[in-house]
């Protein structure tokens, strides 16, 4: 089924059918009607690949995220998509699952699709890949990795500052034995996130003991990391989690061990996803405005926006949200 068949049936040329389908209002309305009739009768659906190829524009924006299961990423997606749709763009997503190979494949896929713009919300970035992207001359926006340049805009949250906020809060409550629970790619020498924690924690007076652990991102990962941490005999009075999603899993492990939050252990998250407020107790966390990030990301990519801030760096300020999961430490008592 193609334009030609429709044209034939409507008794016009393919050019005219194309005009009708694209709302180029130069077509006589009688003609238009005949064309539309033929389209409907034939159940015709234009081939988007042909359209993209001929038109030279894909009307598509790509989003690559580390873990769409984590509501943090999903929220950004939703916001980005809403803005994109208003402007007439589709958004197509690739999930990396924190796997560098899938990251590379995802980027290549997006370039192959000739996306009009690409948003990268991933925790790790290979420098070579950034180069590849820069050469591809596709407008890009990176969240939290890389540096602004030519066609690349950067949105970054001051993660360190957020962690400092949290650690400071706990320290001022009197906590002196802290733990950090990350996910795999947030631990290790290259990780901003672990570094942020370690630095925050080492400058404290009076000094604190600390330890770290990690598993996958997510509920199950949080539970397993907490299990590992607590099995080693370390008894933190407060646990700082890399994000809310993981923290919700940690909460479960603490409960299973008969540890009450915040009475026995204080717990913090990061991101302020909806789930954080639905936990019992609701999590003290850092608010990261995902809607805003999605909006800014689209604005940075929007080909229709001349004033789009290309190659800029945008900084988002984290904000501490106090809820029920943190309190002063108490000496543990068995019930």
């Amino acid at each position: 089924m193609n334009l030609e068949e429709v044209a034939k049936r409507a008794g016009v040329s393919t050019a005219t059918v194309s005009r009708v389908l694209n709302n180029l209002d130069v077509v006589r309305s009688a003609t238009r009607a005949r064309v539309l009739k033929a389209v409907a009768e034939l159940n015709y659906h234009p081939n988007l690949h042909a359209r993209t190829l001929a038109g030279g524009k894909s009307h598509t924006i790509g989003l690559i995220a580390s873990n769409m299961e984590n509501p943090f990423f999903f929220d950004i997606f939703r916001s980005l998509e809403a803005h994109a749709r208003l402007a007439g763009y589709e958004v197509v997503v690739a999930n990396t699952d924190y796997d560098p190979d899938r990251l590379v494949r995802g980027v290549r896929l997006m370039i192959g699709r000739r996306v009009a713009g690409l948003a990268m919300v991933v925790s790790e970035m290979d420098p070579g890949l950034i180069e590849e992207l820069a050469n591809a001359r596709i407008p890009c926006v990176f969240y939290d990795v890389g540096a602004a340049r030519g066609n690349i805009t950067n949105i970054r949250v001051d993660y360190s500052r957020g962690i400092r906020c949290i650690v400071g809060h706990l320290h001022s409550l009197g906590h002196r034995r802290l733990a950090f629970i990350g996910h795999h790619s947030s631990l290790g020498p290259t990780s901003e996130r672990e570094k942020a924690f370690v630095e925050s924690v080492s400058h404290l007076q009076p000094a604190v003991e600390w330890q770290t652990a990690a598993d996958r991102d997510g509920l199950e990962g949080g539970r397993l990391a907490a299990r590992q941490l607590l099995s080693q005999g370390f008894q933190p009075t407060a646990i700082v989690c890399v994000n809310d999603f993981t923290a919700a899993g940690v909460l479960r492990e603490l409960r299973d061990r008969g540890l009450s939050v915040p009475r026995d252990v204080s717990l913090t998250g990061f991101d302020n996803i909806t789930l954080s407020e639905f936990c019992d107790p609701p999590l003290t966390t850092i608010d990261i405005p995902r809607d805003e990030i999605g909006r800014l990301a689209f604005a940075a990519l929007d080909p229709g926006d001349e004033a789009a801030p290309q190659g800029r760096e945008i900084v988002i300020e984290p904000r501490l949200v106090l809820r029920g999961s943190t309190a002063p430490p108490q000496s543990r008592r068995k019930p």
Copy 2:
């Protein structure tokens, strides 16, 4: 940047470049090497639209879901994608947010993309749309809506049976005042889900009082629906939720009202998503095997599989999972 430039630089024809890029191992390895070198130097990325157009196959499978924020849908996506990737397919997702308009647009988009197969995991289906899909001659698999025919395979869960299971369980525990909390598209005259509850509940002996409420799908929706339900003065001893995601939100509202689960109110979910086990208390629910559904969906679409069960109907049996959120009713006492 196109094949021709690469061909020129490598001193070969575009046909040869194409062969190299498609691993048609008929190319002399010296030639292949030269081509690959040119590709790398030029940072060349084949245009997937042109490829699809010329090749006639999109290597893409579409998935349309009602609410990717709900882990139920995400889990199916993950499973479907894993199987698809192994077979060399990309999967591209469209989210409808339970909006019929977005459903239609999503379907058209997928047809326009000439997907090799389309999985529809949505709760409502317009008959006209099904017709459109059938005419498009795209292999389809529907979850829980529509009926099997020509190119359409059907996977259905016996939702009624699941609900009957749950209601029976609660009734046998002694509950006589039940409520059903759905989401918008699960309530109303056309809804399978509400019907399932109402039917289950009306056949019970001794008889029970019941009521229903609904808001959006999700944590916030569950909370709001519960608020609405409980504000009306009805005091159910057990609440049956349309799914786990919503139930997790209901849990929060109950807690806020000082109602303890399961002491004051029993609560049930549906789907057995990971979150259901991380709630406090963990939810009694019905297990729906999302991995299996994703696998079956791909199998039904797989163009490479001759034995693919086209036009069949596949039935999935629900299974009751007992956890801590249900117990016999007790007379309420203030602490």
